[in-house]
């Protein structure tokens, strides 16, 4: 839930997604769901020469399980809050387990 919650705040920010097949896509994050599937708009592929079939693609839906990394826009991340959120998450998990 933390990651979902976190990525939701990045909607409308530009992110770069590295896929497990080494494809590297930069685009505006349009939406994300609890599977961390990702919708990107106005995408650019990093190595366009290598992936010409993506030259004409402007938006993509990425299945969450194929994402390797997401490069975050640093100024859109509140690290202190993220720390707190992590604590909350841990507390929740502990709470669930104790139940």
């Amino acid at each position: 839930m933390l990651f979902f919650s976190f990525f939701k705040t990045l909607v409308d920010h530009e992110v770069t997604i590295e896929l497990k097949n080494d494809l590297c896509i930069t685009g505006t994050l349009k939406s994300v769901d609890q599977f961390l599937n990702i919708k990107l708009d106005e995408i650019r592929v990093k190595d366009e020469q290598k992936y010409p079939h993506l030259a004409a693609v402007s938006n993509v839906f990425i299945r969450g399980s194929v994402v390797r990394y997401v490069h975050l826009p640093a100024n859109a991340v509140d690290t202190a809050l993220l720390e707190d959120a992590t604590r909350r998450e841990a507390a929740n998990a502990a709470g669930v387990k104790a139940r």
Binding site: M1, L2, F4, T9, V11, Q34, L81, D84, R87, A98
Partner: protein
């Protein structure tokens, strides 16, 4: 045809099934061939390999056409009927018999040549395909297929007639619209074109699809044509008119889809107007009209077509999803909504998003919230249209009801199987992947009660405890907004009192977690737990947040605690320059930075409101308990001393301080001066010319302000070299830095009524 027959035909035998060795029919004796009679219906029947590869595009195209045509027909049905009077009216019961699904067989001739060769039977042609027997069909290359497709697209219009007839045949046939005699006639034609299939084919008497209509006698052709024209729409009409049970409706949908597919290739060849719709009035009738009538008719027609086109555009994707699909989506959406609802009640979930959005909304209220936030967080909000508003409200109410209902019967979200090691939790919105929870025994879960706070791990644990309570308290603070507003003059309601009690409890708990209440034991080899946890930057960063929740008394205690342990603070201990160091290690510098940005401001904030008694008390405490000479060598130490001195000076100048306190202060000040006398130069960082030494000058300035004439002279004598050094350096350094240097020195000089400019 039997679905289970698997005759293998040897190459070139051309469907000669007399070959005993290859007839496997005997092995399937227990399979009743009669029961395979409907396999065609179930599995779509035998079909030649299609050569139309654009499935999605073509289907979509045809879906449009079907809708349009249906609309056209339903509108013009009454007007049209007289035209077809002579034709035997199709029998309604036949059509309503919708349990019978027409075989789904795209006719080869539709795609291919305009003169389709008779296809004797599926099996035969199928097995002949790969063979290279003379006369048999050759396997075509992709280029050939494409060429053929291109050709067929350019095929002349007249061919459409025969093609249309062709593919409507099975439909007509299956609907039983044709009378028996006709069927009979068909069968009389059959043997001429179809090599009679062996009995094992299970060929039904209706199986005459393969025959191109133009090979039929002309009168049948005509009948077919007329029937096709009147019947298809009629059939669709009946669909609309009657209330079928669910089961039948579904089948009809299926049928319609099949029809669409069948219609597909023929459609583009029909005489079409600009909207891709066939005129529903035959040309002859149009010609027989008068000129004005015709004009009016055409005008009406075009209007109607435009409207239909619009409707068709809107209804383009109607029926794409089955009820089951919709149900599925609705379930997911409802699950989401329920979870959002829970989230609103439980801020522990989705914490980051909620708080982040709140902060963003606070810092930039003008910024329009993202759509997600609007729907998710701030669902209220202005909407324009009133009527639309009503709809939305109704929908919202519906959704609210559905959510409430879903919440009313909570789903079991865990399953414990007997003898299993853990619980199996079902997937839900938050954890889409079901997982196995291994249950820990209670004893393991309970952390071992720690007795000492000496080791790093327990210190970190202590800090986390502080954070946990802090977060709880902060969430509690936020809950205040949910309370009903306080009414002036009335005693606070029960809710408010409850809230205040919880807040009080949490604040006390938080205070306890900071370990402030641990007794100060100077004999102990360990540092005080509070000071120990304060050495972690994590704790340092929490301090401003903690301070907000503490009252004055607690703040004083914290300040006192820090002052008493000033010489054991990590930032002080590590803030002393080594003999050869011109710079502190970066980690230490960072610590000091974090300390001065996070802890000093709240302390100073409090300090500048503190009364003289406290200032004096703190300085006395510091002089009694800690090594002043040592702390004077560090930035943090000097900043604390500056803090005391400047507050005392301000209070003295305000003139509202009791004489006793002033005297007391003077005594302590003299003590401080005497302690530090002789080591003023140690206050400066090494190589002070080029590093930041502003804090030293600030300290010296605050000392000078309170000092007597004699003390001032001593001070000036001690730091004279430093002053000159700095003034010189300010001339060499780049302008901005130089001015800064001068200003720093001037702080000190002005405190004694002097100025750097006097130095020349």
């Amino acid at each position: 045809m039997s679905f289970f027959t698997t005759e293998v035909v040897p190459y070139g035998s051309g469907g000669n099934f007399d070959d005993k060795g290859l007839d496997y029919e005997d092995t399937y004796e227990d399979l009743d061939a009669d029961e395979d009679a409907f396999n065609d219906d179930t599995f779509g029947g035998p079909a030649g390999a299609d050569r139309d590869f654009d499935f999605a595009g073509a289907t979509a195209k045809v879906a449009n056409v079907i809708n349009e045509e249906q609309a056209i027909f339903s509108r013009s049905n009454t007007r049209k009927r007289p035209t077809y009077q002579p034709v035997a009216a199709p029998k309604a019961p036949a059509i309503s018999d919708s349990t019978q699904i027409p075989a789904l067989v795209p006719d080869m001739s539709l795609w291919g040549a305009t003169e389709p060769t008779p296809e004797p039977s599926y099996h035969e042609s199928y097995y002949q395909m790969p063979s290279t027997a003379p006369g048999g069909k050759k396997v075509m290359t992709l280029e050939e297929v494409e060429a053929q497709m291109l050709m067929s697209q350019r095929a002349p219009v007249q061919s459409s007639q025969s093609q249309l007839q062709n593919h409507y045949q099975p439909l007509n046939q299956l609907h039983g619209a044709m009378n028996q005699s006709m069927t009979h006639q068909f069968h009389q034609q059959l043997p001429q074109h179809t090599p009679s299939p062996g009995p094992q084919f299970g060929s039904s008497p209706m199986d005459f699809r393969g025959i191109p209509a133009h090979q039929l006698p002309p009168h049948i052709q005509q009948m077919l044509q007329q029937q096709q024209q009147s019947q298809i729409p009629q059939y669709q009409q009946t669909n609309q008119d009657r209330n079928y049970p669910q089961q039948q409706l579904l089948q009809q949908q299926q049928q319609q889809r099949m029809q669409q597919r069948e219609l597909e290739p023929a459609a583009p060849q029909h005489g079409r107007n600009q909207y891709g719709m066939a005129p529903h009035l035959p040309a002859q009738q149009l010609q027989s009209m008068t000129e004005t009538d015709r004009m009016r008719f055409l005008e009406e027609e075009s209007k109607r077509l435009k409207r239909n086109h619009k409707i068709a555009q809107l209804a383009r994707y109607n029926g794409l999803m089955t009820p089951q699909d919709k149900n599925f989506i609705q379930r997911i959406q409802l699950q989401q909504l329920v979870s959002i609802n829970n989230t609103e009640e439980n801020p522990h979930e989705d914490f980051y998003y909620i708080v982040h959005s709140a902060i963003r909304a606070r810092t930039n209220p003008q910024q329009p919230l993202s759509q997600l936030a609007q729907t998710y967080l701030f669902r209220q909000g202005g909407r324009g249209n009133r009527r639309q508003d009503n709809h939305l409200q109704r929908m919202e109410q519906q959704v609210a009801r559905a959510v409430a209902a879903a919440k009313a019967r909570p789903k079991q979200n865990q399953l414990v199987l007997e003898g299993s090691l853990g619980k199996i939790s079902f997937s839900n919105v938050k954890t889409p992947r079901p997982m196995l929870n291994i249950q820990k025994s209670e004893s393991v879960l309970e952390p071992v009660k720690k007795t000492s706070l000496a080791d790093r791990k327990s210190l970190l644990r202590a800090i986390e405890n502080v954070y946990d309570v802090l977060l709880e308290l902060e969430i509690h603070e936020r809950d205040r907004a949910k309370l009903p507003p306080l009414i002036e003059g009335q005693p606070p309601s029960e809710l408010h009192e409850e809230w205040l009690a919880t807040k009080e409890h949490l604040t006390n708990k938080l205070y306890a977690e900071t370990k402030m209440q641990e007794p100060i034991n100077t004999a102990s080899p360990h540092t005080h737990p509070f000071i120990a946890i304060l050495s972690f930057s994590k704790m340092k960063r929490a301090m401003p947040r903690l301070f907000r929740h503490f009252d004055t008394e607690k703040r004083v205690t914290i300040l006192t605690m820090i002052v008493v342990h000033l010489d054991s603070l990590d930032v002080v201990k590590n803030g002393i320059y080594g003999p050869d160091e011109t710079q502190l290690p970066s980690a230490h510098r960072e610590d000091i930075e974090v300390f001065s940005t996070n802890i000093l401001p709240p302390l100073m904030g409090y300090m500048y409101e503190a009364p003289m008694s406290i200032v004096v008390g703190l300085l006395t405490l510091a002089l009694d308990r800690i090594n002043i000479r040592m702390i004077s060598m560090t930035k943090i130490g000097l900043q604390f001393l500056t803090m005391f001195l400047s507050r005392a000076e301000l209070l003295k100048q305000s003139g509202q301080v009791q004489e006793d306190y002033v005297l007391e202060w003077q005594a302590q000040f003299d003590r401080l001066f005497d302690t530090l006398d002789g080591c003023w130069n140690n206050c400066f960082p090494p190589n002070g010319k080029f590093v930041d030494d502003q804090y030293v000058w600030q300290f010296l300035a605050s000392m000078a302000v309170g000092a007597s004439m004699l003390q001032q002279q001593k001070l000036v004598a001690a730091v004279k070299d430093r002053v000159l050094e700095n003034v010189q350096a300010s001339r060499i350094l780049p302008p901005e830095l130089g001015i800064q240097k001068r200003e720093n020195v001037n702080l000190f000089m002005r405190a004694m009524g002097l100025d750097v400019d006097l130095l020349g």
